[in-house]
């Protein structure tokens, strides 16, 4: 009988990560799209780092930082009661960092590609920056938002290195599907590994296919 827990955990992690990332990424992407600050290249680099860095590197530093034997990890533990290593919360934080560029980049380019005049016209009509973002800018970059949401979701499902480093392999807490696959292969349970793999493969394929259909306009008849 297949243990469904790793799959459920994977989707729970991906869902919460995507949701939180969405709200973090919008202000960040807005800032990156419109700022004239000299800090911009530095922030852009930091956001893009997870694209090129081996996930184990990110995982390793997070492990060091959050370890209760270090000052920062100890402070988190003592003051906020947060233990971020080998816990779901830690996994969540690591996932957010790891998938950050996948959410931020599409939204940022969506913002930059909008004609500047839309924003200016909204200001001329007396609207604040916040209401301009919510009512004018975001509704006009729906494809970018969708791309960001889906890429971040799919990328979190595919996480392995970071999870292994900071989450470990605790059933029900940090043992996600990708880890379970590794586990089953090590135990020579190829059948179970195949089931997990196939489910992940089919799901991510479907999700990405829907996005591309949507963004290419094939599904236009179903939405407005």
């Amino acid at each position: 009988m297949l243990d469904w827990q790793p799959l459920i955990l994977t989707f729970k992690l991906a869902l919460i990560t995507t949701l939180l990332l969405f709200f973090i990424a919008i202000p960040l992407a807005y800032w990156m799209a419109f700022t004239k600050s000299k800090l911009k290249p530095v922030i852009e680099t930091l956001v893009s780092m997870p694209l090129v860095l081996p996930p184990t590197v990110l995982g390793f530093y997070l492990l060091i930082a959050f370890s209760p034997s270090n000052a920062f990890g100890n402070w988190l533990n003592e003051w906020l009661g947060l233990r971020l290593i080998f816990s779901f919360e830690g996994l969540l934080l690591a996932s957010i960092l790891y998938s950050l560029p996948f959410m931020v980049h599409p939204i940022q380019s969506g913002f930059s590609n909008l004609p500047k005049s839309l924003k200016e016209m909204s200001y001329i009509l007396g609207k604040s920056r916040t209401s301009t973002i919510i009512k004018v800018l975001l509704p006009n970059i729906k494809p970018s938002l969708l791309t960001g949401i889906v890429l971040a979701f799919a990328h979190t499902i595919g996480e392995f290195g970071v999870v292994l480093m900071i989450g470990g392999n605790i059933p029900g807490k940090t043992k996600v599907a990708s880890i379970a696959i590794y586990d089953e292969v090590e135990a020579l349970n190829y059948g179970a590994a195949n089931t997990y793999s196939f489910i992940l493969f089919a799901l991510t394929f479907t999700i990405l296919l829907i996005v591309y259909l949507f963004n290419n306009g094939y599904l236009k008849q179903f939405h407005k």
């Binding site: 200016e120 200001y123 009509l125 009512k135």
Partner: protein, 291 residues
């Protein structure tokens, strides 16, 4: 009275240019900013609207100060309450025609103005359509109506008609004149089409390389006195052919090409591209309805 006095360094295609403007605009007038592209016309409107910051200067409107760099006063675009029609119209693609207008409505204000404006620019049948499904002329009307929802005192139009065909253009000029009167607006229009300027504005400010070179009543600026002509047309000179003692001028009037005979004294000072006024005084033009 609108008082403007500001400077701003601009980087243009031909290098650095100092935009330096000092002028007053009478309340209720319809002013055209006229000049070649790159003369700084759009920047003036943007500075008035608060979208571009000048390096230094002062703007005051009916005794309220919008900008005074020496006192560090600079009202945000949101607080200036101007009507603005951009060259690209900037209609919000995610909203229908009506929603575009409703978006402009200040919370709690009477929304009957929206239906009134929709009727005024004849958009009733199109009010539930999205902007991208409309023609250029229709989009322009939406932009014009939207700019008036907040009942601004000042309406600014950045070459609103340049992308449109002649017939639609004429109709839209009428809409602009109508709203200008009905709303008691001070209207500032950018145009580089002389016939449009003559038809619409009472005052012209002519710009060249960021400076005002002429300002005054339209007919004076274009050296077009109230001649008691039987008919008059304005157009652009396309071709000059000299034949013996006369010149044959090809003039584009609207979209038609008209050939006109000119004598030597008239013809020798003209160059291709000149804007010219053609009028006849001694004979009555014969006018017949043909369709």
């Amino acid at each position: 009275m609108i008082e403007l006095a500001f400077q701003k360094k601009l980087i243009s295609a031909t290098g650095e240019m100092l935009l330096s403007v000092e002028t007053t605009i009478k309340e209720g007038s319809l002013v055209t900013l006229y000049g070649k592209s790159g003369a700084g016309k759009t920047t003036i409107l943007r500075i008035l609207g608060g979208l571009t910051q000048p390096d230094s200067g002062k703007i005051s409107i009916h005794d309220s100060v919008w900008l005074d760099t020496s006192k560090k006063i600079n009202l945000k675009p949101q607080k200036r309450k101007v009507g603005f029609v951009f060259q690209d119209y900037a209609l919000f693609p995610n909203m229908t025609v009506k929603e575009n207008l409703e978006f402009a409505l200040i919370k709690g204000e009477d929304n009957s103005i929206i239906n009134h404006l929709i009727e005024m620019v004849e958009l009733g049948e199109l009010q539930h359509r999205y902007p991208l499904t409309l023609s250029g002329g229709q989009q322009q009307r939406v932009a014009l109506a939207r700019a008036l929802v907040q009942k601004p005192k000042i309406l600014m139009l950045d070459e609103p008609l340049s992308a449109l065909e002649e017939e639609i253009r004429y109709k839209l000029q009428q809409y602009i004149l109508t709203v200008h009167k009905e709303f008691g607006l001070t209207t500032i229009l950018i145009s580089h089409d002389i016939s449009e300027v003559l038809r619409m504005s009472d005052t012209v400010i002519e710009l060249e390389n960021g400076k005002i070179i002429k300002q005054g009543p339209t007919n004076q600026i274009f050296n077009y006195k109230d001649l008691s002509a039987k008919f008059q047309l304005t157009g652009t000179l396309i071709q000059i052919i000299k034949q013996d003692f006369i010149y044959i001028l090809s003039v584009q009037i609207g979209k038609d090409l008209v050939k006109i005979v000119a004598d030597e004294s008239e013809g020798e000072n003209l160059v291709i591209g000149d804007k010219i006024l053609v009028s006849a005084k001694a004979f009555n033009p014969i006018i017949q309805k043909i369709g």
